[in-house]
């Protein structure tokens, strides 16, 4: 059980929770505030990560130019998806988002010359070379570690990811308190009523979708930097559902519920790594991986049953009609 007492392991759990916070914050904007059923959030994460990696490796861009452009690309992906599908009924829209995220993954898998295909980013460069997109990022991380005296690069990443996450949370919190955020919440409650008050509901939904996609793009950047390598398999629909679990766990329509949900989720998920005792040892390791997901699912189901409004949600809001 030595890994449990390892600081770097828990720092890693914290970094992942921070990345999930940013990813799920995007969903909170889209669903928690604007009522959009987006089941393809992971696609925007993939667009962000791939755009950055491709621009850095293939085009030789500076990370500091490639990263903002990657976020813009993710937002543009949201605009594109929204323009074509936001006029559909909510349930059809939800299905289209799943399809969109699978299409993005298939493109990433099959457009080998653009993305490196199923081999992942290591194959981004010319054949025979192992390409790296995070040289500039690693140097930046090293400087931050030195400047603040962090004990390890894990601790440094933890600080960077959570600083960004808190800034994004605060900005979202502020945005939702503006009259603009009020219109979003009105659309979530009753889109027709909002339209009859003169609100261009389509434009607002499009903005919410694009902003949520941009947040996913930022999560994609940190995912790429944290792991130094990624492939299309990293962007399975499962990741979108993790973000949804975080949202339900924390509570809908509450900005600060997202980091709480993400942290609890992160620790449940990490904690179930240590199921290395009977009866779990009766299963082969690949079976145990599935067993772990089942157990995570059950724990979350239980939590949601006990607190249907989420850890920070408002129970009264749930029963109002």
């Amino acid at each position: 059980m030595s890994i449990l007492s390892s600081g770097s392991f828990w720092a890693f759990v914290g970094v992942v929770a921070g990345i999930y916070t940013i990813l799920a914050l995007g969903l909170q904007v889209q669903f928690g505030f604007a009522g959009l059923l987006n089941f393809g959030q992971v696609a925007f994460m993939a667009i962000g990560a791939y755009t950055m990696a491709i621009l850095v490796v293939k085009e030789g861009w500076s990370t500091w130019l490639a990263a903002p452009l990657a976020v813009v690309a993710a937002a543009a992906g949201g605009l594109f998806l929204g323009l074509f599908s936001l006029r559909l009924r909510a349930d059809y829209f939800a299905i289209v988002t799943i399809a969109f995220s699978e299409i993005v993954r298939y493109v990433a898998t099959n457009e080998t010359s653009l993305t490196g295909g199923s081999q992942g980013t290591i194959a981004l460069g010319p054949i025979g070379t192992a390409s790296q997109y995070n040289g500039q990022w690693s140097r930046f991380e090293g400087r931050v570690q030195h400047a603040f005296g962090f004990s390890s690069s894990d601790a440094t990443m933890l600080a960077i990811v959570w600083t960004v996450a808190v800034v994004l949370l605060a900005l979202t919190w502020l945005a939702m308190r503006t009259p603009w955020g009020r219109v979003l919440r009105a659309i979530r409650d009753d889109e027709d009523a909002a339209a009859s008050l003169g609100k261009n509901t389509f434009a607002y939904k499009l903005q919410a979708l694009a902003l949520g996609a941009a947040l996913a793009g930022i999560a994609g950047l940190f995912y790429a930097w944290e792991f130094s390598f990624f492939s299309p398999d990293d962007f399975q629909p499962l990741l979108t559902f993790f973000a949804w679990m975080i949202l339900l766990l924390g509570g809908l329509g509450r900005v600060w519920a997202v980091p709480v949900g993400a942290t609890v989720f992160g620790f449940i998920f990490a904690g179930t790594r240590f199921l290395n005792f009977a009866p779990f040892t009766w299963f082969a390791s690949d079976q145990r991986a599935y067993l772990r997901l089942i157990i995570v699912g059950l724990i979350i189901l239980l939590l949601v049953l006990v607190r249907p409004q989420g850890l920070l949600g408002n129970k009264r809001e749930m029963v109002l009609e």
Binding site: A175, T178, P179, W180, R182, V183, R185, A186, R188, D189, D190, D192, A193, A194, A195, S196, L197, G198, K199, N200, T201, Q207, G253, R316, E317, L320, E321
Partner: protein
Amino acid sequence: MTPLLDVQDVVRTFGAVRAVDGASFAVEERSITGLIGPNGAGKSTLFATIAGSLKPDSGRIVFAGARIDGRAAYRVARAGVVRTYQAARVLTRMTVLDNLLLASTGHPGERLTGVLLRPRAASAHERRTLERAHEMLALVRLEAHTHEYAGTLSGGQRKLLDLARVLMLEPSLVLFDEPMAGVSPALRVELLEHILAVRRDRKITFLIVEHDLDFVMQAADRVVVMNEGRVIVVGTPEEARTNEEVVDAYLGKAH
């Protein structure tokens, strides 16, 4: 004088049901026009069609000289035609105050660019909107519920909130779908007075569907009577009351 609203041969079907079946009538500026007819006559459907929530199958709707049929609902609202729903559509998971604050047009704070680039204009507009909202709350006697979720209000209170929200928008044409249903008689008198005052001071025109015929006879200058999707009579309240077709339509349905 050309009418403010001109409904010409509007048809709207739901499958085989011809909910509105070639309805034509006009609403004069600054009038209070009552729209009456038995249940299922097509009044609510006609409202939804005028407001842009439903597209007409055929026909024309002209408002202030411009065609509005086929426009999106939010554009019709911005042009100055605002409706209420028969079952009030308040935003249940928002506070009563927030419901009212939504009733403002051209709010710079409702655009992201306005929030970022014109914060002063946005907060000035927000202050004015807040003042107006409190006035309206006082008018419909909902001050005690200002910070409660609108979803906790009773049906009658929701009607009042909806009414307040629409009056706050100060549109040129208000479409009220049974505004008095579920409202106490005492408050009815006051709301009627307010509607009359608003029309006098602010040049607002009203088209009102109302089952309370006493209310219609008192308030309306003109009455449009619908039956089975068609307009059967347009006239003064007195003419409508004594018209045989109208009496038949009502009694025919009632018995």
